[in-house]
């Protein structure tokens, strides 16, 4: 494989891991619980801001850096990050400490944002909930763009590379870590698939009044799901920032981190992890190919990147028209295996 294709594949893998984690969080909220979270970008941005703010400060604290640079962390961020990087090259332990603390903080920020946006919104029904979450999603972008101490305002900041110790395998290590996050979320969703909790979430999704009449606190369960979803989004945001070693509020748009995940999940099917995986991989691949072959289309009198929007919109319309449940539909989930059901019924087999 040529170097160019290797980099393409590794970057594809990295983005795939991030988006899969984010999309599985949407599956938890939409597919399981029926919460139309159009504010995914909020918790993702929160995690990304933590990833942009915390590692450089932890780096200054853990490794030897000229202390005078701390007088203006934003102005000096490139110098500080470079100095920290030099130390992290030979110190994977320090790098992993920074990574773990950052992830913990990003998860906490995501939980807080999930709680903050969910608390007022969770009692609302259907489209009102969706619209309010869509609006709340803009809040951090406005703050990040206009308040420099967070992540340097519109120009953003560079952060230390916690994967620097991996040398030439830095991108591969970061990509695999992103995929590990997605795998963790996948296993979590898989574990609740056949659990009482999974059935309760689906009951709330399908008929909240009936679930409520059976003693389930619908608002509280929805809030818990939004907090859990927020944690996942926050972690994904931080991992994305740590992968790119920089963060700028303009890169955290509603299109990239709310609408695109929705297109992927609706395309693949919100009722199945496999569907979400297929949707995620398809659109990440298309996006990467359009960006990679952008220059081959330079004869067009417009920026070819807009073709991606056109394609996504058209695909979404077609899917909603002809297969609204997505490519992979939800399968019935049974509390007992077929063998256990047969045993309970006193038969050899069902």
């Amino acid at each position: 494989m040529s170097g160019q294709w290797f980099l393409f594949s590794v970057d594809l893998l990295a983005l795939f891991g991030i988006y899969l984690a984010l999309n599985l969080s949407l599956r938890l909220q939409l597919g399981y619980t029926g919460i139309a979270n159009f504010g995914l970008v909020l918790a993702f941005t929160g995690g990304a801001y933590v990833g942009g703010w915390l590692p450089i400060r932890l780096g200054m604290w853990l490794v030897e850096v000229d202390p005078s640079l701390a007088d203006d962390m934003i102005w000096n961020n490139v110098i500080i990050a470079s100095q920290v990087d030099l130390s992290l090259h030979g110190s994977p332990g320090t790098a992993m400490t920074i990574l773990l603390i950052t992830l913990l903080a990003a998860g906490a920020a995501g939980a807080l944002l999930g709680l903050q946006s969910g608390y007022p919104a969770v009692r609302l029904g259907g489209d009102y909930l969706a619209i309010s979450l869509l609006a709340f999603g803009e809040v951090l972008a406005i703050i990040g763009n206009n308040y420099d101490p967070v992540v340097g305002g519109p120009l953003g900041v560079r952060i230390p590379d916690v994967w620097a110790w991996a040398g030439d395998w830095r991108f591969m290590a970061a990509s695999l870590a992103n995929c590990a996050l997605a795998l963790g979320v996948w296993l979590y969703l898989d574990s609740i698939e056949k659990s009482p909790m999974g059935r309760m979430l689906r009951a709330i999704r399908d008929n909240p009044d009936a679930a409520s009449s059976l003693g389930k606190n619908v608002a509280r369960v929805r809030l818990n799901v939004m907090v859990t979803g927020g944690i996942i989004c926050g972690l994904a945001g931080a991992m994305y920032t740590l992968y790119t070693t920089g963060v700028a509020p303009s890169a955290l748009s509603r299109f990239d981190w709310t609408f695109l995940p929705w297109v992927m999940v609706v395309f693949g099917g919100s009722g199945s992890n496999v569907g979400v995986l297929i949707g995620t991989f398809t659109f990440i691949l298309v996006q990467k190919l359009i960006i990679s072959y952008k220059f081959a289309l330079s004869f067009l009198p417009f920026d070819p990147v807009w073709l991606q929007f056109l394609l996504m919109g058209l695909v979404l319309i077609l899917v909603l028209n002809f297969r609204p449940s997505g490519l992979v539909t939800e399968k019935a989930s049974y509390a007992l295996s077929r063998r256990e059901m047969a045993k309970a019924a006193g038969k050899e087999s069902l």
Binding site: A36, G126, D127, I131, A135, F136, I143, L310, M312, L320
Partner: protein, 299 residues
């Protein structure tokens, strides 16, 4: 004084944008995320017409109204109605309008790129202030925006209260199933609402660059504010967007100007947070919106 006039102008434009959103939600139960892009199309109709045919953008207000009414009608017929006819939920219809929004973002940007690359027009950032006139010592945009909003709101109110069409529209908004049973042509009425809403957005889009900078993402970036206008105004009465536009427009421009004179200019960039805060407070304490609250007090 300048910020007071700006606030008045901005309020009317917000009211026009919110009018369409409220009308669509009220009559067809859909929150149209693509409404922002329809506003942008109004701006580009004005840009194209003034660039190639000369004259003031005011001259092209009817054209912007018609083009955007047509676009909105096509969105309804080609995008929303086929899925709505299958009994889709309000959330699914919202996702449909997101898909349409993505397509329109692409088309608008491709068109803006084309204007810039082929005709060398400044299509990524434009302002029509040079075309404006003065009336009674104030800019023409102030009068034009309020005249458009008042004309739309009053004529819609008169149609709603005094014609058979209005009766059918009210029935559609309040009891869609009953309206069908009574013989109302729901599809035609819904189409009419979408066209009227698109027309209002077109007027707002055509007028917006007379005072404020315009770019391909202008409507997209304002959609959250438009939702705030619609929800804060309440969807029960069509004068809701007018009231909400006034409150939010003043809060975002005049209010923030006053606040900055007390606490310093650092607060100015955060003016876009105001609609979100208002939305949050509305959903918590005034879910029926301003018009619902006024109606309840009267009742």
């Amino acid at each position: 004084m300048a910020s007071f006039i700006d606030a008045l102008t901005y309020s009317a434009l917000l009211g026009l944008m919110g009018f369409g959103l409220t009308l669509i939600r009220r009559t067809t139960g859909v929150w149209n995320v693509a409404h922002g892009e329809v506003v942008t199309i109004g701006s580009y109709v004005a840009l194209t017409a003034t660039s190639f045919l000369a004259h003031s953008p005011y001259f092209y207000l009817p054209l912007a109204f018609l083009v955007c009414a047509g676009v909105s009608g096509i969105i309804f017929l080609a995008g929303v109605e086929p899925i709505r006819a299958k009994g889709a939920s309000s959330i699914l219809l919202l996702v449909v309008t997101i898909a349409i929004s993505l397509i329109m973002i692409a088309v608008i940007n491709i068109y803006a790129d084309y204007l810039q690359n082929v005709f060398h027009l400044s299509s990524k950032n434009f302002l029509f202030a040079r075309f404006d006139f003065t009336l009674l010592g104030q800019m023409g945009i102030l009068w034009a925006a309020w005249a458009a909003l008042a004309a739309l709101t009053i004529s819609y109110y008169l149609v709603l209260q005094h014609t058979r069409l209005g009766l059918a529209l009210r029935a559609l908004a309040e009891q869609p199933t009953l309206a069908v049973v009574m013989g109302a042509n729901v599809k035609s009425l819904s189409l009419l609402s979408w066209c009227l809403a698109g027309g209002a957005a077109g007027l707002a889009g055509c007028l917006f660059p007379m005072r404020f900078q315009c770019h391909p993402g202008v409507g997209t970036s304002m959609i959250a504010t438009m939702f705030a206008v619609s929800i804060f105004g309440g969807i029960e009465k069509m004068y809701g967007p007018l009231l909400a536009g006034l409150v939010l427009g003043f809060a975002q421009i005049y209010g923030i100007d006053l606040l900055s004179s007390w606490v310093g200019p650092g607060v100015i960039p955060f003016k876009d947070l105001i609609p979100m805060i208002v939305l949050l407070l509305t959903l918590q304490f005034l879910p029926e919106g301003l018009s619902g609250f006024v109606g309840r007090r009267r009742g």
